[in-house]
Symmetry: D2
Subunit: 466 residues, 4 copies
């Protein structure tokens, strides 16, 4: 099958029997819901970009598995320059939508599994690598969207209680296993055809050492939508969006050929680390894309306000750009230092991706601050489209918000900025990166080891022997 | 009349005939609207605090004008220690509501006018000071809430066009004047009995050099509500809030005894600077109060998550506290250096208040970032009250969000944090301070003068004569 | 006796028999040494300022103890406004010398002892308060300079070993006690007539709970000069300076009337905290004074370079000023919140002074960075006075460093900036504040208590009862 | 000839007849001077590293020009991965010496000239590329050290005056040209065999569009040493160092075969930009190497102080590491995005290197601040080696500075930290990067162009057409 268009994608999602709950009730027509539609629209836009000849080189590639041209969001990255292309794709998409791309977590989970399944097979003679390649051929061929289910419920519970809530195998049957538990922060689940689930860190119990893929509408899956911010969005604003959800696996059957890890606890840490490393790199690409939009929106707003020549506006825009490019640079850097693996993909050094992570969880706040010092309160004060269209108020709005351009444009750009500051784009830009898993403890540990080398350097220069 | 209770206040606002527009239509029952109710609730809470014996010393004082005990939000501050009490009141209220106090702009406008009206009278033999004192006696006696209308429409228009949109006198009659134009960012207008309007900076044309007070439901006033962020608020969350509005003065008559400046352009700059100075000081008090709530909410969330003993959580909380106290300290410092004026009130040095302003427009972003690195995405993922109460989902929510405390508490605190990050509290905390008027140009200028002194110091130490 | 002039001061120091060691040898003529002379010059300049009629109000006051006019550096502060005057004095002096004032630690030790001695007497019937007042009358009357010896050797030693190095009583005689041990970081000791020694924190052993004063040339005192930075200073640069020293008390006899605490361990923590609080406040004054000089020097350098109209230069200067004023504001704020004590002096809340401390250990680095982005490498490349005066090179120097002003001036201002970046002024500005004692643990603890209040605020708004 | 050892290098420098002036007089035995020796020692150490088999891959490569193995500091970089190796070499050397590498400017000048000379020849039929390749073969073959002379005197002079001080051709002869003028900030000149001089930016006058190489002891060259900081260094500390100098070309003859640009003004901007881009990249490598030493020294100091387990020490070390790795990452990123040129070398995008530059002029200050909050004043208080060795004082020093390790080690590490904070290492780490040329104006301009793309992205999402 060829690559899907956005329209084909939307239709394919509508055909799924997703079990979604919102405000306490089951949602019958998910795709039409104002909460979910902006997320579907975002993934549809990714499809359209991939189908666009101009972006062919960035958005698609030829799969080493199928030999066919595929959406790069379903690709196993081969080397450094391939990883840099991934970043460029994410920045392009981030810049087109100013929203979550929904597909990065699934992509990163596939890539983390690729080498891990290979290594597990090598040691234990299992067949996970073949399973994974078949699954990949399936999603690449059908151009399917894949959600990554990684984050576990955050519980302060004791280890024994945690057994009750972590995703785990509760029954083993000849043809497969039955899993139970929940995964949090599933941003792409309502917009995906498949879910890949992997452990979020090292696990000691064999039942929890489980990685697999199932369709999003598999029997037993419940999707519970969280409270989102709509940033004051009004009907007709038409922004792209995202929807965070809790996914409950209420006894879901996973057939053997969809299992990629099953009890080999010693590989769980490696798998989780590899996912974390890829996902931090992803963040560098997609968030710098959102940064592009925010910077552009502020530049437009300043132009409409007539302040674009002011020295503080120019300085702030330069500083915002510097910070945004630092975020991107750190993604490029860890990509450039990636190493190829025996399985045929590649892996990125975890501590080096921590540099990405630290910056992508800091600079967006400063960028936002600088942005707001330019637009000030205007983004909050602007009335909605309905005021502007109203016969009674239209002339007042036009008069008091008039700019060098059509007043309507000024209102629109302010609405977009409001969305980027307080709406679902803000959640993606400011909050989501905070979640980048992989363990502070582990980062600290690796750094600790490096510290010994540095102490040696200092000791030698200081003249301390031994 | 005694001080109003919150209930009396709400009733008094309901009795006003406010001319409010939302989503393109006139709002019939404003006080009941879910958009406006949280703002009224906030001002009502200020009234209740003032009526509470425990806060009597902070929230009330004896008016030097009427000799009666009044709400401190209607007080003319006499000296440094009085100004420090103002800060304490604002921090107390900010901490109780985590929302805009709605009354600071009006309070700061009164105080700025107090000395300016006195000085104008002294030079021109006008009677503005008496007018102001009568107005103050009226609002102090009736315990009325007063909005400050200061910010002008932000137009890139030419000076001639600006004549069409700035608030100005369009007709002069024996008993008063007729004004036309608009004021932006009127956060308190829907919750106030009176509006004081003053110019936002130096004006050269006599018609725009106008300061006055009118009731919020005066003939010709239109209140147009802007798009707000609700941060994903759900019915029943019950937070305090704020509502930004554009106020159009569509030919409003102002009687002579309500005029506090009328054509004396030379005093407009002083008046605007004094307002800006007081308002920056106010921000230091109210925003450090919101900071208190945010820090407390994060500490509770960490406790519910079981991470409150982690060293990074403790360090982040300490750092958040440090930044919050720096904001407060700068407010105390400019208060402590205030000078008494001939009129009987006091004034604060503008450049010194700029220190407040710079910090209050920076540190809340860093505080927010530190906060989010503790709660991560949880605040977005938590479902609404309705999910939790739902028969179908309640047990799942309870299981997967369970904490050391009742799950319900964990959801509640996360909802509050969401509100503080993306809701109307966020607008007040992060965006509103950006608007603090008074002119970068002017701050730069004053600093430039100080620079000459500093150059002299350096030259002397370096051994450069002359 | 009247206030000393700088000249009288220098003569009085020369007459002392200080036991100073430098580069491994006893220094015979300390006052003439190029390492010590800049420090003495600095204290001499403080004396001259105090004798100058123009600064009388800031630099001097009437002692409540003697009823005579005294140098404010020997004063017991009575209330908030008195403490704000202290800050102004320190900023004035810092701005005149861009160097350590040498007298703040002694001043802060006196003030910390004042209330503590009073309270100890009250509980134990001792006579420390009288002893202290007599000592104060002595130094106030003679206009003597007093060093504060507080910091203990930093040892990773076990408690038992620490007994060997901490300052303590090793023998008790009828007329007094014999003390042994060392105090670090005695910046003022070579420039002082007297030393006040106090514990640097809570101590449990009675022998170490000792506070006293002795002349700097008392029998048994050894002063060992540390390595200093001279920042590339060349003879003739003529800057003010400072000299850090280790003071060894090698069995020094302290007569009873010079003892202010002797074994009352329960008061050691209070004493140390009070000292820390006063000393953090001091830092806010003196470092903002150095900041004034640095900002002024950079402004002059930019003017000489012809870049003073560039927007980034102006922005950097404004930002440097903002940070410098934040440092000062936090000093004003904690002063304004000080409380009067029963003894007659006043005390400052330790956590509030921690705000001072955190900022004064951060912003000077950013100020320095901004400064350097203006001067760039010029300060390092400029040759010394001797090159400029040399017949062979003079014309080349003149040609290639020529500026709008005399080349000599450009060299001089660059030399001053070098000193402020890398010389002894840099040590005072950047490193010394890091030492501000008082205990991170304790700051954290106080903040922890405040956290409970904040949690209550958040819980109430969120609707969590209990 | 094979690669030089450090010893051979030192001998080769001693044989030069350098015309060096210090403190107003000609320096007869430069290599033995305490000011210059540390710089020579640093370059000697680079030679020794290159000769060390363990570092062969990083420090050396096979020249595409000569086909021989050469020191990588004389290499023309071929592609991205070659540039990443350059960074690794610089980090290695920075980490071994904590000092300026002295050879980066020359290296970057060669590489910038390589493609520029090629392109100039292509347009004008000149022979600069051949000249350059011959020169490169000479320095590669002889393993010579090459200084880069780029920075012009900073004058506020008018353009006409600037003609008098900028380096330029003052006479044209058959066999070559005579140049006059000066270059600033020549850090490597006293330690080099050759100087490459290039314009520091676009020039309009043909006489100033001159690039060439001459030996450092060519007739007419005067080297005037600037004031340096020695950070309190004491004889025997034995650190590596650097020496900034003004180089005056007092009518120096340059033979035709040593000329690489001569009057082709249109290529000056490209040349200067390419140099700036390479040099910013260099800074990322060498400064992260110094950062390694500083972090290691602080870790050792904390260990000796017994505070290495404290949470704030560990957090500070992690943060220092993060900032240091961000500096390095930005160097890797711009290297990874470099493009190959027709001439056979490669070039780096200037705006992307600006990300390096901004971070390398910021983070070292914050790293230094964090470092100092760990060591506090100890680095200043520690006495010199001579005190420790003194019979009279040794036992006191040993007693009061005792640590878990030999006291001597503690003194040594503190001396190193002092050097890194205030000595010549500090100049290299903190000040030198500020000088990274290439033009703020130009960076701003490029960013301005990018802004248009970003505005388009925002406009599309907001729904603004056109």
């Amino acid at each position: 099958m060829a690559l899907m268009t956005g329209e084909q994608y939307l239709k394919s999602i509508e055909e799924l029997k997703l079990n979604i709950f919102m405000f306490g009730e089951k949602t019958e027509n998910a795709a039409a819901s104002p909460v979910l539609a902006p997320a579907l629209k975002a993934v549809g836009a990714v499809c359209d970009l991939a189908a666009d000849e101009r972006y062919k080189d960035v958005m698609t590639t030829v799969s080493p598995i199928t030999g066919e041209r595929i959406n790069r969001f379903n690709h196993i990255f081969q080397n450094s320059s391939d990883l840099i292309k991934k970043l460029k794709m994410q920045r392009l998409c981030g810049g087109r939508m100013a929203a979550c791309l929904h597909r990065s977590a699934g992509l990163d989970a596939m890539n983390a599994l690729y080498s891990t399944a290979f290594e597990t097979d090598k040691k234990y003679g299992t067949r996970y690598f073949d399973n994974l390649r078949s699954f990949l051929a399936h999603v690449q061929g059908g151009d399917l969207t894949v959600d990554g289910a990684v984050a576990d419920p955050k519980e302060p519970a004791s280890e024994s209680e945690s057994s009750e809530i972590r995703l785990r195998v509760v029954e083993r049957k000849p043809g497969g296993v039955v899993v139970r538990g929940a995964k949090m922060q599933n941003v792409g689940v309502c917009a995906s055809h498949e879910i890949i689930a992997i452990p979020s860190g090292a696990v000691k119990e064999a039942d929890k050492a489980i990685a697999f893929a199932v369709p999003t509408d598999a029997e037993g899956i419940m999707i519970i939508i969280g409270s989102q911010s709509d940033g004051g969005a009004r009907p007709g604003d038409g922004f792209y969006g995202e929807t965070e959800a809790l996914v409950v696996f209420d006894d879901v059957f996973v057939p053997n050929e969809r299992i990629f890890l099953n009890g080999e606890t010693e590989f769980t840490e490696t798998l989780a680390d590899r996912f974390a490393a890829f996902h931090r790199q992803s963040c560098s690409g997609s968030k710098s894309g959102i940064g592009d939009v925010l910077i552009g929106a502020i530049a437009l707003a300043a132009q409409f306000n007539g302040s674009d020549k002011d020295s503080y506006v120019r300085n702030n825009l330069l500083e915002m750009t510097h910070l945004n490019e630092t975020i991107f640079s750190c993604g490029v850097a860890c990509s450039a230092m990636a190493e190829e693996t025996e399985a045929g993909g590649c892996s990125i050094d975890l501590p080096m991706t921590n540099v990405c992570r630290q910056n992508v969880t800091r600079f967006p706040y400063e960028i936002t601050r600088l942005a707001r010092s330019i637009t000030r309160e205007l983004m909050i004060i602007v009335p909605s489209e309905s005021e502007f269209r109203s016969e009674r108020l239209g002339e007042y709005i036009d008069k008091y918000f008039k700019a060098g351009v059509r007043t309507e444009y000024r209102l629109k750009i302010m609405r977009l900025i409001g969305e980027l500051m307080f709406g679902s784009a803000a959640i993606d830009y400011l909050t989501e990166p905070m979640e980048l898993s992989g363990g502070d403890g582990k980062n600290a540990e690796s750094r600790q080891r490096e510290l010994e080398d540095k102490k040696r350097l200092a000791g030698e220069i200081a003249g301390i022997d031994g």
